[in-house]
Protein backbone atom coordinates (compact mmCIF):
# COMPACT_ATOMS: atom_id res chain seq x y z
CA UNK A 1 0.00 0.00 0.00
CA UNK A 2 2.64 2.48 1.11
CA UNK A 3 4.84 1.54 -1.84
CA UNK A 4 2.00 1.97 -4.32
CA UNK A 5 1.20 5.37 -2.82
CA UNK A 6 4.81 6.42 -3.11
CA UNK A 7 5.03 5.52 -6.81
CA UNK A 8 1.67 7.10 -7.54
CA UNK A 9 2.43 10.35 -5.73
CA UNK A 10 5.90 10.52 -7.26
CA UNK A 11 4.66 10.05 -10.83
CA UNK A 12 1.95 12.69 -10.35
CA UNK A 13 4.59 14.99 -8.87
CA UNK A 14 7.01 14.45 -11.77
CA UNK A 15 4.31 14.82 -14.43
CA UNK A 16 3.08 18.01 -12.75
CA UNK A 17 6.59 19.43 -12.52
CA UNK A 18 7.29 18.79 -16.20
CA UNK A 19 3.93 20.02 -17.47
CA UNK A 20 4.02 23.20 -15.36
CA UNK A 21 7.63 23.88 -16.40
CA UNK A 22 6.48 23.77 -20.04
CA UNK A 23 3.30 25.88 -19.81
CA UNK A 24 3.10 27.85 -16.54
CA UNK A 25 5.60 30.60 -17.43
CA UNK A 26 3.53 31.47 -20.54
CA UNK A 27 0.23 31.17 -18.63
CA UNK A 28 1.60 33.41 -15.86
CA UNK A 29 2.50 36.04 -18.48
CA UNK A 30 -1.04 35.86 -19.93
CA UNK A 31 -2.63 36.27 -16.47
CA UNK A 32 -0.27 39.19 -15.80
CA UNK A 33 -1.43 40.88 -19.03
CA UNK A 34 -5.03 40.37 -17.93
CA UNK A 35 -4.24 41.89 -14.54
CA UNK A 36 -3.02 45.07 -16.23
CA UNK A 37 -6.44 45.49 -17.81
CA UNK A 38 -5.29 44.54 -21.29
CA UNK A 39 -6.45 40.97 -21.40
CA UNK A 40 -5.34 39.29 -24.64
CA UNK A 41 -8.13 38.83 -27.20
CA UNK A 42 -8.63 35.27 -26.07
CA UNK A 43 -9.52 36.33 -22.52
CA UNK A 44 -12.83 37.94 -23.39
CA UNK A 45 -15.70 36.07 -21.73
CA UNK A 46 -17.20 34.74 -24.98
CA UNK A 47 -13.82 33.63 -26.36
CA UNK A 48 -12.92 31.97 -23.07
CA UNK A 49 -16.25 30.20 -22.86
CA UNK A 50 -15.94 29.06 -26.47
CA UNK A 51 -12.43 27.80 -25.87
CA UNK A 52 -13.37 25.90 -22.70
CA UNK A 53 -16.44 24.37 -24.40
CA UNK A 54 -14.12 22.29 -26.53
CA UNK A 55 -13.70 18.83 -25.01
CA UNK A 56 -10.03 18.57 -25.81
CA UNK A 57 -9.36 21.95 -24.16
CA UNK A 58 -11.47 20.88 -21.17
CA UNK A 59 -9.33 17.79 -20.66
CA UNK A 60 -6.07 19.70 -21.08
CA UNK A 61 -7.26 22.37 -18.61
CA UNK A 62 -8.34 19.71 -16.11
CA UNK A 63 -5.08 17.79 -16.41
CA UNK A 64 -3.00 20.94 -16.05
CA UNK A 65 -4.78 22.27 -12.95
CA UNK A 66 -4.97 18.85 -11.27
CA UNK A 67 -1.33 17.88 -11.91
CA UNK A 68 -0.09 21.32 -10.85
CA UNK A 69 -2.00 21.06 -7.55
CA UNK A 70 -0.66 17.54 -6.83
CA UNK A 71 2.85 18.62 -7.76
CA UNK A 72 2.66 21.59 -5.39
CA UNK A 73 1.14 19.55 -2.55
CA UNK A 74 3.75 16.80 -2.76
CA UNK A 75 6.78 19.02 -3.23
CA UNK A 76 5.74 21.45 -0.47
CA UNK A 77 5.23 18.51 1.84
CA UNK A 78 8.79 17.25 1.35
CA UNK A 79 10.20 20.81 1.45
CA UNK A 80 8.46 21.60 4.75
CA UNK A 81 9.74 18.32 6.16
CA UNK A 82 13.21 19.32 4.98
CA UNK A 83 12.84 22.65 6.73
CA UNK A 84 12.28 20.88 10.02
CA UNK A 85 8.49 20.88 10.22
CA UNK A 86 7.72 17.46 11.63
CA UNK A 87 3.91 17.63 11.48
CA UNK A 88 4.02 15.56 8.29
CA UNK A 89 0.59 13.99 8.78
CA UNK A 90 -1.13 17.35 9.09
CA UNK A 91 0.85 18.84 6.18
CA UNK A 92 -0.07 15.85 4.00
CA UNK A 93 -3.77 16.05 4.89
CA UNK A 94 -3.97 19.81 4.21
CA UNK A 95 -1.82 19.71 1.04
CA UNK A 96 -3.38 16.66 -0.60
CA UNK A 97 -6.78 17.82 0.68
CA UNK A 98 -6.50 21.15 -1.14
CA UNK A 99 -5.24 19.30 -4.24
CA UNK A 100 -8.16 16.86 -4.12
CA UNK A 101 -10.80 19.57 -3.60
CA UNK A 102 -9.21 21.67 -6.35
CA UNK A 103 -9.19 18.69 -8.71
CA UNK A 104 -12.88 17.96 -8.04
CA UNK A 105 -13.85 21.64 -8.37
CA UNK A 106 -12.01 22.01 -11.68
CA UNK A 107 -13.86 18.96 -13.05
CA UNK A 108 -17.18 20.31 -11.70
CA UNK A 109 -16.78 23.79 -13.22
CA UNK A 110 -15.38 22.53 -16.53
CA UNK A 111 -18.44 20.28 -16.89
CA UNK A 112 -20.67 23.33 -16.31
CA UNK A 113 -19.16 25.19 -19.26
Amino acid sequence: MAKINKALFWSLFAAGGTLTAFVFPALAVIVLFAAYGSPPEIMGFDQMRGLLSNWFVKMVAFGTVALALWHAAHRLRTALHGMGLRADGAVAVVGYGVALIGTLLSAYYLLQI
Binding site: A21, A28, V31, Y36, P40, F45, L52, A72, L76, Q112
Partner: protein, 127 residues
Protein backbone atom coordinates in the same frame (compact mmCIF):
# COMPACT_ATOMS: atom_id res chain seq x y z
CA UNK B 1 28.64 5.34 20.25
CA UNK B 2 29.91 6.89 17.07
CA UNK B 3 30.20 10.66 17.02
CA UNK B 4 27.37 12.29 15.11
CA UNK B 5 28.02 15.82 13.95
CA UNK B 6 25.15 17.99 15.13
CA UNK B 7 23.09 19.29 12.20
CA UNK B 8 20.26 21.76 12.60
CA UNK B 9 16.96 20.34 11.40
CA UNK B 10 15.61 23.77 10.55
CA UNK B 11 18.55 25.70 9.05
CA UNK B 12 20.85 23.07 7.47
CA UNK B 13 20.06 24.26 3.92
CA UNK B 14 21.52 27.70 4.71
CA UNK B 15 24.94 26.18 5.43
CA UNK B 16 25.89 25.61 1.80
CA UNK B 17 24.94 27.48 -1.35
CA UNK B 18 23.92 24.34 -3.26
CA UNK B 19 21.59 23.29 -0.41
CA UNK B 20 20.01 26.75 -0.38
CA UNK B 21 19.48 26.67 -4.16
CA UNK B 22 17.91 23.23 -3.82
CA UNK B 23 15.50 24.47 -1.14
CA UNK B 24 14.57 27.52 -3.23
CA UNK B 25 13.81 25.21 -6.17
CA UNK B 26 11.56 23.08 -3.96
CA UNK B 27 9.72 26.19 -2.74
CA UNK B 28 8.85 27.21 -6.33
CA UNK B 29 6.08 24.64 -5.93
CA UNK B 30 4.22 27.06 -3.64
CA UNK B 31 3.79 29.39 -6.63
CA UNK B 32 2.90 26.50 -8.96
CA UNK B 33 0.04 25.82 -6.52
CA UNK B 34 -0.93 29.51 -6.36
CA UNK B 35 -1.08 29.83 -10.17
CA UNK B 36 -3.09 26.59 -10.41
CA UNK B 37 -5.62 28.03 -7.93
CA UNK B 38 -5.80 31.31 -9.90
CA UNK B 39 -6.48 29.31 -13.10
CA UNK B 40 -9.14 27.32 -11.23
CA UNK B 41 -10.66 30.63 -10.08
CA UNK B 42 -10.76 31.76 -13.73
CA UNK B 43 -12.36 28.48 -14.89
CA UNK B 44 -15.02 28.73 -12.17
CA UNK B 45 -15.70 32.35 -13.19
CA UNK B 46 -16.22 31.34 -16.83
CA UNK B 47 -18.65 28.63 -15.66
CA UNK B 48 -20.61 31.10 -13.52
CA UNK B 49 -21.20 33.75 -16.17
CA UNK B 50 -19.97 37.07 -17.60
CA UNK B 51 -20.44 39.11 -14.43
CA UNK B 52 -18.47 36.72 -12.25
CA UNK B 53 -15.82 36.60 -14.96
CA UNK B 54 -15.65 40.41 -14.94
CA UNK B 55 -15.13 40.17 -11.19
CA UNK B 56 -12.31 37.69 -11.75
CA UNK B 57 -10.51 40.08 -14.12
CA UNK B 58 -11.03 42.96 -11.66
CA UNK B 59 -9.76 40.74 -8.85
CA UNK B 60 -6.54 40.13 -10.76
CA UNK B 61 -5.96 43.88 -10.90
CA UNK B 62 -5.92 44.44 -7.12
CA UNK B 63 -2.64 45.97 -5.89
CA UNK B 64 -1.66 42.98 -3.76
CA UNK B 65 -2.64 40.64 -6.58
CA UNK B 66 -0.40 42.43 -9.10
CA UNK B 67 2.59 41.94 -6.80
CA UNK B 68 1.69 38.28 -6.29
CA UNK B 69 1.35 37.77 -10.06
CA UNK B 70 4.72 39.39 -10.78
CA UNK B 71 6.43 37.21 -8.18
CA UNK B 72 4.59 34.15 -9.51
CA UNK B 73 5.66 34.90 -13.10
CA UNK B 74 9.34 35.31 -12.19
CA UNK B 75 9.25 32.17 -10.01
CA UNK B 76 7.60 30.17 -12.84
CA UNK B 77 10.50 31.00 -15.18
CA UNK B 78 12.92 29.96 -12.46
CA UNK B 79 10.93 26.74 -11.88
CA UNK B 80 11.10 25.87 -15.59
CA UNK B 81 14.84 26.54 -15.90
CA UNK B 82 15.61 24.64 -12.68
CA UNK B 83 13.34 21.71 -13.60
CA UNK B 84 14.81 21.19 -17.07
CA UNK B 85 18.36 21.53 -15.75
CA UNK B 86 17.83 18.54 -13.44
CA UNK B 87 15.80 16.50 -15.96
CA UNK B 88 18.93 14.73 -17.35
CA UNK B 89 19.69 13.49 -13.82
CA UNK B 90 16.15 12.38 -13.08
CA UNK B 91 15.59 10.87 -16.53
CA UNK B 92 18.92 9.74 -18.05
CA UNK B 93 18.67 8.40 -21.60
CA UNK B 94 20.91 5.51 -22.61
CA UNK B 95 21.72 4.67 -26.23
CA UNK B 96 23.58 1.41 -26.53
CA UNK B 97 26.49 1.52 -24.12
CA UNK B 98 26.60 5.28 -23.60
CA UNK B 99 24.39 7.81 -21.91
CA UNK B 100 23.14 10.72 -23.99
CA UNK B 101 24.92 13.87 -22.69
CA UNK B 102 22.83 15.80 -20.17
CA UNK B 103 23.23 19.01 -22.16
CA UNK B 104 21.35 17.45 -25.11
CA UNK B 105 18.45 16.27 -22.92
CA UNK B 106 18.19 19.61 -21.11
CA UNK B 107 18.67 21.50 -24.39
CA UNK B 108 15.84 19.59 -26.08
CA UNK B 109 13.54 20.50 -23.19
CA UNK B 110 14.52 24.18 -23.41
CA UNK B 111 13.76 24.20 -27.16
CA UNK B 112 10.33 22.56 -26.65
CA UNK B 113 9.61 24.99 -23.80
CA UNK B 114 10.50 27.99 -26.00
CA UNK B 115 8.43 26.83 -29.00
CA UNK B 116 5.44 25.85 -26.83
CA UNK B 117 5.51 29.17 -24.93
CA UNK B 118 5.74 31.12 -28.17
CA UNK B 119 2.77 29.14 -29.56
CA UNK B 120 0.66 29.72 -26.43
CA UNK B 121 1.43 33.47 -26.34
CA UNK B 122 0.76 33.83 -30.10
CA UNK B 123 -2.55 31.95 -29.84
CA UNK B 124 -3.54 34.09 -26.86
CA UNK B 125 -2.81 37.20 -28.92
CA UNK B 126 -0.28 38.62 -26.46
CA UNK B 127 1.77 39.73 -29.48
Amino acid sequence: MAYVRPVSKTTWYLAKRSYTVHMLQELTSLFVGILALILLWGISAVARGPEVYRGFLDGLAGPGMIVLLWVTTVVMFYHAIAWFSVTPKAMPVQRGEVFVPGSIIAGAHYVIWFVLSLAILLLAGVF
